[in-house]
């Protein structure tokens, strides 16, 4: 470690609290690093030097006092409205619930994290701020929709970022960028000023370099302690088909080996309605996001515009069917958690695709990456339960993640499991640093 931005979130907070690190120096160094390193990455297109200094001057003596973070464009800030990855202000400026939790913890918002336009994709190829890239390979996707959050943490621009997750938008980019991404339980923090406030599935998500940092950040956001417990005897629920079977074989093997390393008991699960979960998620997503006013639709990219307009053509009976299936899925997942402590499968079915070729080759065939990704992630959103992606290996030089889901409100179990994974794998995945982060 040669610069303060390279310290972990906990180390930054501890050093500031102990008087060993001047938060003004950390802030200046963070802004300088974003300016120097983020050019091709484009993870943090908007920075707030003046507002960040004002936040620092008035910062609360909370657990994150003086620690710089970025915030996804779905949260309104007192000095800037939320644009949700477009060029149009969609929510007016305010101290959103997410912002207030950061402020009360003493964190400093240094910039807006780039994201897939309107949160309607898992690649980051479309954004009002321009496409953003993966720190491990600047030709590949950082994931989405919170791709800027994951990329900034992976590239050591900031040690923490607040994102969101409406259909995997925290877990997928975390997997692609080799960081920890925790989607919290639905409605676990205040939703005012948050673009997902009108949905039945969107939830905030935190990004950090490792599980210890994620625990620290999540406890501050949830405003409750998340003490560590022993999870060496965890029961892990496995749904073999299609969640493991229909993944890129190398990704499946890497994630499977990581689960093996943990020594946990595996429990085969049957979730009968799971084959319908992808369509159910997509129908609910499109029906709830709705279609913005014509002037907004005219200001977004043609593809996102078409995605939004397509939802207007969807028959109402599809929504009715999706709601019935969703109710069944929620019952089936509740029953599954009677048999296991967490449910596990690869966070994404394959490593990050090239931004110019957003498809994945799976045993079932070549598939648009968004469809394949939502299949791996939508269940947690339909059920509102927390989920996490933990670095679990490398394929083609790119990170892949292990996804775990836990019962409602049990973020602590996921963080315990994530720390166990890191220990049992000798931290050899979580401590890997992308090449861009080694350039001083």
């Amino acid at each position: 470690v040669t610069e303060p931005q390279d310290l972990s979130l906990r180390q930054q907070a501890d050093a500031i609290a102990a008087g060993n690190l001047d938060p003004s120096e950390l802030l200046d160094a963070t802004l300088a690093r974003i300016a120097a390193r983020d050019g091709d990455l484009n993870s943090t297109p908007i920075v707030f030097p003046d507002e960040a200094k004002a936040m620092l001057a008035a910062s609360a003596r909370g657990p994150l006092r003086g620690v710089p973070v970025t915030v996804k464009d779905m949260y309104a800030l007192p000095w800037r409205g939320a644009r949700n990855g477009t060029s149009v202000e969609l929510i007016p400026p305010s101290a959103s619930g997410g912002f207030r939790r950061l402020q009360e913890a003493g964190a400093i918002v240094v910039g807006v994290a780039n994201q897939h336009e309107l949160g309607m994709g898992t690649t980051g190829v479309l954004s009002g701020y321009g496409r953003h890239m993966n720190p491990w390979n600047l030709r590949r996707s950082p994931g989405g929709s919170s791709g800027g959050s994951a990329a900034a943490v992976s590239a050591r621009l900031v040690a923490g970022s607040l994102g969101s997750d409406s259909g995997g938008s925290t877990r997928l980019p975390a997997a692609y960028c080799g960081v920890v991404g925790l989607k919290v339980t639905y409605r676990a923090i205040p939703y005012d000023g948050y673009f997902g406030r009108g949905t039945t599935f969107s939830a905030p998500g935190v990004f950090c370099r490792d599980a210890g940092d994620a625990r620290f950040f999540a406890a501050a956001m949830l405003q409750r302690p998340l003490p560590r417990t022993d999870v060496s005897r965890l029961r892990v629920g496995i749904v073999t088909s299609p969640m493991w079977d229909d993944c890129d074989p190398a990704t499946r093997a890497a994630v499977d080996a990581t689960v093996d390393a943990c020594g946990w008991e595996r429990v085969e699960l049957d979730v009968p309605s799971l084959p319908l979960a992808t369509a159910t998620t997509m129908v609910r997503l499109s029906s709830e996001v709705g279609t913005p006013a014509p002037d907004v639709v005219d200001a977004i990219s043609p593809v996102t515009r078409a995605v939004l307009l397509a939802s207007l053509l969807r028959p109402v009976n599809a929504v009715a069917a999706a709601d019935r299936v969703r109710a069944a899925l929620r019952r089936e997942v509740a029953a599954a958690f009677e048999m296991c402590d967490v449910i596990a499968w690869p966070a994404s079915p394959a490593p990050a695709p090239l931004q110019d070729a957003p498809f994945v080759a799976l045993p079932s065939g070549t598939t648009p990456v968004d469809v394949a990704n939502v299949r791996q992630s939508g269940l947690a959103n339909l059920c509102g339960v927390p989920g996490i992606s933990i670095p679990a290996g490398f394929v083609e030089g790119m990170p892949v993640g292990l996804q775990l889901l836990a019962p409602w409100g049990d973020e602590g179990c996921l963080l315990d499991a994530a720390e166990h994974v890191e220990e049992e794998t000798g931290r050899r995945f979580v401590d890997q640093v992308p090449p861009i982060a080694l350039v001083q």
Binding site: A279, M282, V283, L309, R326, V371
Partner: protein
């Protein structure tokens, strides 16, 4: 006076119907928009077809409260 009925291709019917839906909602769409919409619909077609084909009687209607644990 006898009514004249003209048959059109299905794809043209889709286009006319879709344009009507969008215009009623206040959106003006181009041919490119419609082509993209058809492409997007085709990407999720298999899943949606499975949902449409599901035996809905297996899934009794029950209210979902998303703010409570399943």
């Amino acid at each position: 006076m006898p009514l004249t009925i003209r048959c059109t291709l299905v794809v043209e019917e889709f286009t006319v119907w879709a344009r009507g839906v969008f215009e009623r909602a206040g959106y003006t769409v181009s041919d490119d928009d419609l082509a993209l919409i058809e492409l997007i619909n085709s990407a999720g077609e298999a899943g949606l077809a499975a949902l449409a084909a599901a035996d809905i009687e297996r899934y009794p209607h029950e209210p979902v409260d998303p703010s409570r644990a399943p």
